[in-house]
Amino acid sequence: MKERTVKRPMPVGALAIAGAAAGALTLGVWAASADQQAPISQEQVSAGRAAYMANCAACHRPTLAGNGDALPLTGPSFMAGWGNRPVNDLFNKIHTTMPFGAGGSLDPKTYLDITAFILYANGGHPGGGALTADANVKIATFANGQTPPDVANATAQPAASPSATAARSRAAAPEGLTLEGRIDPYRPVTDAMLRHPSNSDWLMFRRNYQGWSYSPLAQINRANVGKLQLAWSWAMNQGGTQEATPLVHDGVLFLYNTGNTIQALNAKTGELLWENRIGPTPARTFGAGADSYRSMALYGNKLFFASHEAKLYALDARTGKIVWQTDVGDPAEHFGEETGGVIVIHGKVILGLTGCGVRPAKEHCYISAYDSETGKRDWKFYTVALSGQPGGDTWGGLPDDQRAGTETWIAGTYDPDLNTTYWGTAQAKPWRRDMRGSGAGSTLYANSTLALDPDTGRLKWYFSHAPGETLDLDEVFERILIDEGPRKVLVTIGKPGILWKLDRVDGKFLGARETVLNNVSKVDPKTGEVTLRPDIVNQQSDQWLASCPGPEGGHDWQAMSYHPPSGLLVVPLSQSCVLMLGNGSQKFYFMPGTDGNMGRLSAFDEKTLKPVWTFQQRSPFLTAVLTTGGELAFVGDFDRRFRAVDVRTGKTLWRTRLGTTVQGHPIAFAVDGKEYIAVTTGLGGGSPQQKPMNLLPEAHRPPTGQELNVFTLPQTAAVPVAKSTGSKS
């Protein structure tokens, strides 16, 4: 049968964009007449501004500039997606889908007002009558994407949603040091401890400097894990995004809650030892990317964390009091957010920055280091190569204020012998390079592995994993360090699901393995060079591009684990696809060949990167993997299940069902000879939550339930430890 070449079939709702825009769209130029009045009233615009600030600004920003999954609602990006569509399409989209996770929860008048405000924010002049839900006029007839100054300069902090549960709980919650602690004795955490942590402790993000997410504890093992039971649980702050990593030192568990509430608990009993509610509390109960925070760190007598607002704090780990605080971003310019967490090296607290996607960019993202005693900034390394700098010629000639993104939102790892810290970077912004204007350039140092000197911030080498990346498939996640005899390697995996291996001495490419269906890019197994699908190379901003995997990944922030006794990497993977438009709008679908299964857990031989075992399930995994000396791998999923599998075979040996999505970074620790496994449940986040919310309607979860759950065996015994493999831990 001969194929007929016809217009590519369009998904539901997309016809108006592709058909009407063909040949008519010139990026950034919308010729709406300045005299053309919009079908909105001034009263609606005023009311809509207030409603927007209350319900939308937390994600889309007061300036409507957008932030990650919360797309821009003004400017060229917005007009590219909506200019050729009628007003009632925009109203219907907002009405049915927003606020995120609570579409339709506001009254119709509020939705009309918000729609009117958005149209005003794109140059629509009030005066053409009040907006109605059936307004069928094309947006570009009266709007041109020009953001009025009062919107562009908006700085008001978003108010709480009056209907949100968090608003009611916020009114009742105390603030500040609500319980001052007296942890005594307290052993200061030393450099030696960080290099060789006690098997009972969990002192940093993925337990060791090498980022293994592995505990040598073996009391809980394949033979007895079936008896695992809940030891205690602790309700956490609701709202925001739960992606926390508990820390444990000498029987004290330190816990980050959304809203910058830090707690110390007795790790054995769950008794609260101290609490500091630093605030502010999240602006909404449920939202993409809001207020997430992934890792704290312990050093000396202090506990370090950075707030979502990019303020670095040092708390006295014994009492919970603030010792010092310092700005990492620039609060005066509303620049910078922090979600990835910190690492402490040689008494320096090192962290990245996010929220650098707004253009024109007054500042750019950087990794920076601070004296752990004083909070004084020691050095800064910008993750954007500017004009005239090495790598500055990779941005397609864009002026510096148009170079945005390259965030670091996962804490780095560290090799003490090489004295090198390793970080991953996110993509340049906007995601789509047709909107970004950077051409095929690699936009250094986006989507790269960076090797830095932790004492000076000097760049030792970099490796660009995805030059010209354009579909929100960043390579920002964990960099795991492994010694293969004398050879020192680094493994990482990004959203495309390509498992990379580099020589961590010089950044040389050593190998790669695809782990899920990838129709976006192909990696040359010999050179590591990446080629993109031709239509992606030739992209147009009014074109829907297919991406498998989509922005959920592949792989996302849920860290993989290296299990030294078996030499396996156990990797949580997701399987979903999107069609993406130039402004970042997305439509979701299941990945081909997966039978509707969004979750995949796979094990690979670290040396050869060959697959060893894999299994699929309907629901994606939303925790990091924790492997243990007991030959177990623990992981939790979107549909509230937390399980232990045999690390060598993948067979599930134990599982339980918790209050809501199991989300966060599980850890293992021991107190008085007894081993415990701790994991958080929670909500919030971007694509890892958004995609299954849409694709798995059968997965019902309560809108609350952020909690810490701690499991142990019924009987107490001496804590066996896995035999040393000779690998550094």
Binding site: P9, Y589, G593, F615
Partner: protein, 162 residues
């Protein structure tokens, strides 16, 4: 680092793809039909489920399948071909189907050698349109038949790990 975007290299890799590898004769392909790409405002329009199997023998592909739970009666079923699994593409052939919310789907077509190779590469997909979703309600890419071990049952092979 070099920053190559090599279209020729991409095509060469596609031509020698290892992840989708099936004999040209007597080969079976299958797909589970899931929602055509949608956003949260369109979910109700793309409801439904289904499965389609294609058996290739003597250069001819015979498709059979079932669908259920559509939000509106099915109006059309077609076979399309994209450039890769998961990439929408061009119309290839009409299929027969029950014009209802649940029913059967079938069809047959002779494959040119390039089409047979495209089928092996996972480029072909079946799409069902309905009265409420004229641009597509369900779709699914035909991939080599693979025994389903069941939910969370580990297996050795991952067809996409290459």
């Amino acid at each position: 680092m070099k920053q190559p975007i090599l279209i020729a290299a991409w095509l060469a890799v596609l031509a020698s793809a290892g992840a989708v590898n099936a004999a040209s004769q007597g080969a079976m392909y299958e797909t589970r039909l899931g929602p055509v790409a949608f956003d949260s405002s369109e979910r109700a329009l793309v409801a439904g489920d289904g499965r389609v199997t294609a058996v290739v023998s003597g250069g001819r592909a015979r498709l059979t399948g079932r669908f259920t739970g559509l939000a509106a009666p099915a109006t059309r079923a077609r076979l399309y071909r994209g450039s890769a699994p998961g990439v929408p593409g061009a119309f290839v052939a009409d299929l027969q189907l029950t014009p209802a919310a649940s029913g059967e789907i079938s069809g047959a077509l002779d494959l040119a050698p390039a089409q047979a190779e495209g089928l092996r590469q996972g480029q072909f997909y079946v799409q069902i349109d309905t009265a409420k979703a004229p641009d597509g309600a369900l779709w699914g890419w035909l991939m080599p038949a693979h025994p389903d071990p069941g939910q969370d049952v580990p297996e050795r092979e991952n067809p996409f790990a290459r």
